[in-house]
């Protein structure tokens, strides 16, 4: 009887689902109380690419000690999983050989995208060509892992950034959606420069007013609901045909002093037909003991189609009277 094993699996899945909805990791606030060397986001302009686009890629990197940071950019068509360290699993030489066999007349960029603070990538292939690449790369290796990630899941544009400061190194990755010409494009959402701070149960602070230690401030980010673009979600098997709706937005809050703690999460979110306040409102607790006279805030805004942008704010902090 299949059902009893099946139900066991479902029970397991139910617990996973429940934890996904309800569990907040105890250390979640630590993730946004930034220390040491951190990569907070990788952005791309445009947010997605079609044939002929050049993606300008940048990163939001923070180093507590403000050490010199070195950058190493690269790209890849396919990455391994957690067991493989998320490393690129297509050898560059193999890719070039396969690409040349397609005889497109253009050069495939090398994996190395340089060591600058930013990098650029020129899109030279379309999704259909990616499938052709897949077939070539997996020829004679029907059970190779390459096949899994290419032929079946499709090739993508995966960017990797390795930043180093002193002895610390962080590897960060992000995918840039690859579209067909004529596909609905996505715009990176924008975080405004305004940032409202209000001492709890008191008046709003002016732009130059410092934070005071031990106090709790209600803060509001400058993100308008118009940043949620209306788009037609892709059709999904098993679900009713989608209708146009607003993008979901996610705002990550990173602070160098104190902690933000709305609902215990480092991120706030907005979903279509919800309220934008869920995204932009937070609270910021100042610490009892100041280690710095400056409080920095990094806001990273993402939409559900991988659009990303960020903003940085600096404020003075003073001891409590």
């Amino acid at each position: 009887m299949p059902s009893h094993q099946f139900v066991s699996g479902v029970l397991c899945l139910a617990l996973v689902g429940a934890s996904a909805a309800c569990t907040i990791r105890d250390d979640s606030t630590r993730a946004n109380q930034i220390e040491g060397l951190r990569v907070l986001a990788i952005g791309s302009t445009p947010a997605d690419v079609v044939l002929g686009d050049t993606a300008e890629i940048s990163a939001l990197v923070y180093d507590e000690d403000e050490r010199p940071v070195s950058y190493q950019w690269s790209w890849c068509l396919s990455r391994g999983g957690a067991d493989d360290g998320f490393a690129c699993n297509i050898d560059e030489a193999d890719l070039q050989t396969a690409w040349q066999s397609l005889d497109t007349g253009v050069d495939m960029p090398g994996y190395d995208l340089g060591t600058g603070e930013t990098a650029s990538f020129e899109m030279v292939f379309e999704p259909e060509q990616a499938f052709a690449l897949c077939q070539i790369l997996t020829e004679g290796e029907p059970d190779s892992q390459i096949a899994l990630f290419t032929c079946l899941s499709g090739l993508g544009l995966s960017i990797q950034l390795e930043v180093t400061a002193g002895s610390d190194t962080i590897v960060a990755i992000r995918d840039i959606p690859v579209l067909l010409a004529g596909d609905e494009r996505n715009q990176n959402p924008v975080v405004g420069t305004e940032f409202t701070r209000t001492l709890r149960d008191n008046d709003e602070l002016g732009p130059d007013d410092p934070f005071v230690a031990e106090r709790i401030y209600d803060v509001v980010a400058d993100v308008g609901i118009e940043q949620s673009e209306t788009f037609l979600p892709p059709e999904k098997e098993g679900l009713p045909p989608p209708e146009p709706r607003g993008e979901a937005l996610f705002l990550s809050w990173f602070v160098t002093t104190g902690s933000t703690h709305r609902k215990g999460s480092q991120r706030t979110s907005y979903f279509d037909e919800g309220t934008i306040e869920n995204l932009i409102e937070n609270s910021w607790d100042m610490p009892y003991e100041l280690e710095d006279t400056e409080a920095r805030l990094f806001l990273v805004l993402r939409d559900e189609r991988d659009g990303t942008s960020w903003a940085e704010y600096r404020f003075d902090v003073v001891e409590a009277p």
Binding site: M1, V7, A14, S19, A20, R30, G85, A248
Partner: protein, 900 residues
């Protein structure tokens, strides 16, 4: 002519006085305790049972005395040996009327008496008693009980007025009749003593007729009960009615031990009665939770049963021989059957009979209650988790019905305590219901019907969609409901000792609904029909055949949209990787409808070539329509009695099971999967140094083949390629040793020690090296003890010491800007282990017995030492720091149960 005899018993250790009166050919005995003789100390625990006259011989009345109407009385000293035979008889007190030969007649008769020997405890002992013969000459209109004068016969008198005394003995608290108990009624002392004796019938009733009016003393001393000593007034020409509720010396459940009368056939089998199981500490009174304490069973946090290194889904659960989808409510908190419905749990960790199949791990078979109530009875059990009710009713001598139900109220208790933050929780709620019916038209036939239903629900609703991960799905609600029902009809037919048959027919339905928001869901519904026939025929003393068929039809209708990687494929990090990332692109959708058939036939022989050797070869044939697979599974077990208390046993066999439902689904997995196979080998020895003690050592080795495991492989299909997701590329091996010592209830003590030493390994697809299995636990030690105290107190405790859980460490991380989170880089699978687990659980029960019902209060404390036991490892946000996650702290559960 009437002879009246009276005997008194003198013993070395205790002194009893017994009176035996012979009245008109009717023998009656009356006993009463007398103080211990001076200088003689009674034994504290050993009960002294006086000899009982079983072959009475009347002395020959001396003719001259009869002619002259002379009465007499002779007191003898009679020595009775341990066999109940009279060794010697001497005159203690001669007849006053000498010269008639009364003494001689008495001695001749006494030497022919035969007794059931006196006993000290259970041991027959020789004793000396004084035995009195009274010679009463025949007279007209002889009164029934009047002792005549010694010198000469009394003049005729009118019969004295008489009355009757009827009564009933029932067990206090349960109202069960006490059957076959000797009831003695007597009055007077010395020469005036008179008494009668009878036994209670099937209703516990007794009747004395023709009693002289006045006050009578009644004595009943049934085994295992406190004695009854009361006085009743018998009135002229009327019946005095009395009812006595006698309290048992102990209401401990262990008094009712269920021991299989049959010769043990299985190489590896552990059985426990429901009444024993519910008293195991740490199980909160749940009868099925006891399985985790058996040898060969790994410790898990939830409801999973991991048997001898097999995965949880490799062990199959039967209720009354019928497959059931689950036996536990949500999270393993409670099993779906209440204790009232369960008679016994049989657990087979390996090398099980061909009667069982479709499993490569173990078998749990829950035997339903053998319903034969003598009265309307039941219980209500209230604990902080749930309340259950049970009622059983005898309709008539052939028919009985039991009904039960249970409802949890965790939701009711915790609901108001949760914060009102825009989130609505429908906390875990479960209930179940059962109806059991039994009909025995005659001794050869028994018809049973059983219906049960189980329902679980859990839901979280959000005022607004939630989710903080750019690539995760927006979550509006999380819901999980599952319910299933089974209706089982069975016919047991045992026409004679040679043949027996058991036919079972079951129909049922399983439903599962699960969703996370709108995008992730599982909607599953299946209808089952199962037919199972098992027959046994004894050809000779040396050979018995068993055979049967088992057919299971499943009609499935499901649709699901789930992550591309199902739980189970990546179990390694599910506990320590935080909330999973349910990326939208990873989701796959599948739906199907259709019928599936699983058909099996089996036959086995129980062959005893010599009295001490039992060989059981068997063969099972399975067919699975879903995966289109056949399998032959030959198995054999053997048991050799080396000595009355020693036996050795062994077995080997093939076991198969079908791939999981999702694994063989064309969309979710691979429809071309073969059966998973296992070879079981075991060898062991049993030693029973005493009747209540059993020591057992079993070594086992198990190989697993064609295990379904995740794979990166693709298959060429119609010129293209198709991702297989899973294939039969896995393998495994398990080796271990189980040592157990079990002490059945004796002198108030019950318990067992079980230790398992094992190593379970798996080899993944494409790998050449074995790794440790996720549930591998090198050492598992379980000690359980229960002690019965006076006044219906009972204490029990459980100690467990188990190797720590395995986990796969993360050796680094990569920051994913898409998800705004770090992704861990996995190290060697299951290469680390948390510290060992050890825990003490404690339980105390107290029962108060009232006339018509009983109240039982229990306190079950899990982790009584409040030890922080490591269960796994969690990582911080960038996988640079670790923290040990711990199991439950001290958890006391208080409950009350009223039984009537």
């Amino acid at each position: 002519m009437s002879l009246r005899t009276q005997m008194s018993l003198r013993l070395t250790l205790a002194s009893l006085c017994a009176t035996s009166l012979l009245l008109g050919g009717q023998i009656a005995h009356a006993q009463e305790e007398t103080p211990a003789a001076e200088g003689e100390a009674p034994l504290a625990d050993e009960k002294l049972t006086p000899p009982v006259l079983i072959n009475d011989v009347q002395p020959v009345y001396p003719q001259a005395a009869q002619d002259e109407g002379i009465a007499a009385e002779v007191v003898l000293n009679v020595d009775i040996d341990a066999a109940g035979q009279v060794e010697n008889a001497t005159v203690l007190q001669s007849a006053e009327a000498t010269g008639y030969g009364f003494d001689e007649a008495a001695i001749i008769a006494a030497r022919q008496l035969v007794f059931e020997p006196a006993k000290l405890g259970e041991q027959a002992i020789p004793v000396s008693i004084s035995y009195r013969f009274r010679f009463v000459p025949d007279v007209k209109e002889e009164p029934a009980v009047v002792v005549p004068g010694v010198e000469k016969a009394p003049p005729p008198q009118p019969p004295p007025p008489t009355g009757q005394l009827s009564g009933q003995l029932t067990e206090r608290g349960t109202r069960l009749p006490i059957i076959g108990v000797r009831v003695t009624i007597f009055r007077g002392e010395g020469d005036d003593a008179e008494g009668y004796e009878t036994e209670t019938d099937k209703d516990g009733a007794f009747l004395f007729e023709g009693l002289g009016v006045g006050l009578w003393r009644i004595l009943a001393d049934p085994e295992g009960y406190y004695p009854v000593r009361v006085e009743e007034e018998v009135d002229k020409d009327s019946r005095t009615k009395a009812s006595y509720r006698i309290e048992k010396r102990s209401y401990n459940s262990y008094d009712v031990l269920v021991e299989t009368a049959e010769v043990a056939r299985e190489v590896s089998q552990v059985s426990i009665s429901a009444k024993q199981a519910e008293r195991i500490p740490g199980t909160f009174g749940d009868v099925l939770a006891v399985v985790q304490n058996f040898p060969g069973v790994a410790r898990t946090q939830g409801a999973e049963v991991v048997v001898r290194g097999s995965a949880p889904e490799d062990t199959r659960v039967y209720i009354a021989g019928i497959d059931v989808p689950i036996i536990y409510h949500f999270g393993g908190l409670r099993s779906v059957l209440p204790v009232g419905m369960v008679e016994r749990i049989d657990f087979y960790p390996g090398n099980f009979s061909v009667e069982y199949g479709r499993a490569t791990g173990g078998i749990i078979d829950v035997d339903l209650k053998n319903l034969a109530p003598k009265k309307v009875g039941g219980y209500a059990d209230v604990s902080i988790l749930d309340t259950s009710l049970y009622l059983e009713v005898p309709i008539n001598e052939k028919t009985a019905v039991a009904i039960a139900g249970r409802r949890s109220y965790i939701d009711v208790i915790l609901g108001p305590l949760l914060p009102n933050d825009g989130t609505t929780f429908v906390l875990p709620r479960y209930y179940d219901a059962q109806i059991l019916g039994s009909y025995r038209p005659d001794p050869a036939h028994r018809l049973e019907t059983f219906f049960f239903y189980s329902d679980d629900k859990f839901k979280v609703l959000f005022d607004e969609p939630v989710g903080d991960d750019p690539n995760s799905i927006p979550i509006t609600d999380v819901g999980f409901t599952t319910d299933f029902a089974r209706a089982i009809a069975s016919h047991h037919y045992v026409p004679d000792k040679k043949f027996s048959s058991e036919l079972k027919l079951s129909v049922g339905q399983d439903r599962v609904n699960f969703n996370v928001g709108e995008e992730l869901f599982i909607r599953y519904k299946s209808l089952q029909a199962q037919l199972r026939e098992t027959a046994k025929y004894t050809l000779s003393d040396k050979l018995t055949l068993r055979g049967g068929v088992d057919y299971l039809l499943t009609n499935v209708d499901y649709s699901l949209r789930v992550p591309g990687t199902l739980p189970g494929e990546d179990d390694d990090d599910s506990d320590d990787d935080g909330p999973p990332i349910l990326e939208q692109d990873d989701f796959i959708f599948a739906e199907a409808k259709g019928n599936m058939h699983s058909t099996a036939g089996f036959v086995q022989a129980e062959y005893k070539p010599i009295e001490s050797l039992l060989l059981i070869p068997g063969l099972r044939l399975d067919h699975f329509s879903r995966t289109k697979n056949f399998a032959f599974s030959p198995r054999i077990t053997a048991r050799l009695e080396l000595a009355p208390k020693w036996s050795i046993k062994g077995g080997a066999g093939v076991f198969v099971q079908e791939a999981l439902f999702d694994e063989s689904d064309p969309e979710l997995g691979n429809p071309d999967l073969e059966l998973e196979k296992a070879m079981h080998y075991s060898f062991g020895a049993e030693w029973r140094p005493r009747d209540h003690i059993k020591l057992e050592v079993t070594g086992f080795y198990k190989t697993l083949h064609d295990l379904v495991v995740p794979t990166d492989a693709v298959a060429e299909v119609d010129g293209g390629s198709r991702e297989l997701r899973v294939n039969n590329g896995g393998a495994g091996r398990v080796i271990g040793l189980e040592v157990s010592a079990r002490h059945e209830l004796a002198k108030g003590l019950f318990g067992w020690v079980a230790y398992t030493l094992s190593k379970a390994e798996r080899r993944d697809d494409g790998e050449t090296e074995y790794r440790l299995f996720d549930y591998d636990q090198t050492h598992i030690l379980t000690v359980i003890g229960s002690y019965k105290l006076p006044r219906n107190w009972e204490v029990s405790s459980r100690f467990r010491l188990v190797s720590g859980n395995l986990y796969t460490p993360y050796v680094g991380s990569v920051y994913s800007s898409d998800d705004d989170r770090y992704l861990g880089i996995r190290g060697e699978t299951n290469s680390d282990r948390v510290n060992a687990f050890n825990q003490i659980d404690f339980r105390i029960d107290k029962k108060w017995v009232y006339d018509t019902w009983m109240l039982n209060a229990y306190l079950d404390i899990q982790n009584v030492a409040n030890r922080t036991n490591p269960e796994g490892i969690s990582y911080n946000f960038d996988f640079s720091e670790t923290e040990v996650t711990s199991g439950l702290p001290i958890v006391p559960v208080l409950g009350l149960r009223g039984e009537f």
